[in-house]
Amino acid sequence: MNKLFALCAATLLAGCGATTTIDEYRPNNQVMDINSQQSVVILGRRDAGHYDTDREFIDCVANKMKGADIGVFPEQQFVDAIYPWFEPRTAPKGLKRLRRLMEDAAIKEQIERNGIRYLVWLDGSTETHDKGGSISCAIGPGGGGCFGFAQWDKSSIYEAIVWDLTNLTEKGRLRVDSSGTSYLLGIVAPIPLLTPVKNDACASLGTQLKQFFTVDQPR
């Protein structure tokens, strides 16, 4: 009986796993050196009308990078330090515009003063679709409960582009595509079986991004 329960639980939980695919493009196989005085800034694209790359996801990727001893400069601090050149209206969309920005001595000085070597643009969002089923809850003098079944699909698609702020070149691109289905069972109490689609996308992207960089150890 216990084995049957364990099998049922394992089957149920396995259904909550996200499917994640990562595509990586690098113009060459050179690792990107970064020393302890330098840092990486991870910025979210916010110029699209219908979505913003959410700060929660950016913080999550930044935390994964920090775990590898890579200095990560906080996003808002960077945007403030260089105001107004990385606002949604003014942020460079391509290297050509970045090169023009870096011709401004004041902007270049701010970037150098803060020791920012690489810039990672994150662009994407997590969306919910294909909702199905229904669940209803009721409460009365004798007690209450929920009955029913609901499910929904979530997909996270994010792209990371790495720019070298010293050479003003693109160092690589990563694209993560994660999807999964979550369930809510109403058997007296509501039982959520959630698929961590966004967390999975963040963990995969952060891990892959870490491999781009090699931290120079002080001798």
Binding site: Y83, A106, Q110
Partner: protein
């Protein structure tokens, strides 16, 4: 407890409960704004911040008011300082002391907001429409420039209406600063004035002097 006290307490609780459902919002922008990173051009400018502008409170609808005055004065002071090498801030055009300068009077034309209940989108949005009245020190009109600014919250999850409108208004004000710095010298009439006043020549000379 006497019956009247219980009734009074119940009424008080009900009023408190219902007032919690109120959809009105009084927003005051208190956020600090960063200093701009910009090399100002060798231009003199007098910025006229009228008392109305400094204490401006927008009422985009009957249930919402946004106290923008001090925040927009701080933000635009900072942005103008990134545009002009010599700058003075005055309360009226009559107080201008600079000769051969631009006299700029900003004013707010309109403030609009949209909330999730209006648009069924998951965001709060704020539009601020500024107008910059640009004149020479002699009083000749150079241009009247319309400067729209826009801000929205990333989403409305767990945000109170007041906090969400404040966040969107701060983003709109930052956008106003960005637009001003990016586009001011691209206004054709301002560019022509710079050419007439040989400001661009002066800038080139300064650059040559700075180079070793």
């Amino acid at each position: 407890m006497p019956k009247t006290k219980i009734t009074l307490f119940s009424v008080l609780l009900a009023v408190l409960f219902i007032s919690g459902c109120s959809t009105s919002a009084q927003v005051k922008i208190d956020s600090p704004f960063p200093t701009v990173v910009s090399k100002p051009k060798p231009v003199k400018a007098s910025i006229v911040f009228s008392e109305d502008f400094k204490s401006y409170i927008a009422s985009p609808n009957s249930k919402t008011s946004i106290d923008l005055g001090s925040a927009q004065t701080e933000l635009l002071s900072n942005a103008f300082a990134g545009l002009f090498k010599e700058i003075e801030f005055v309360s009226a055009a009559a107080e201008v002391t600079f000769d051969n300068a631009l006299v700029i009077t900003p004013s707010v034309q309109e403030v609009q907001i949209s909330t999730p209940s209006d648009t069924y989108l998951n965001v709060y949005e704020v539009w601020i429409k500024y107008s910059l009245d640009i004149k020479t020190a002699n009083g000749d009109l150079v241009d009247s420039w319309f400067m729209p600014a826009y801000g929205k919250t990333p989403d409305s999850f767990m945000l109170s209406k007041t906090n969400a409108i404040e966040e969107a208004a701060v983003i709109a004000l930052r956008d106003a600063g960005a637009k001003l710095l990016l586009d001011f010298y691209r206004i054709p009439s301002v560019y022509n004035w710079l050419v007439t006043e040989r400001v661009l020549d002066k800038e080139q000379e300064e650059l040559k002097e700075e180079q070793p």
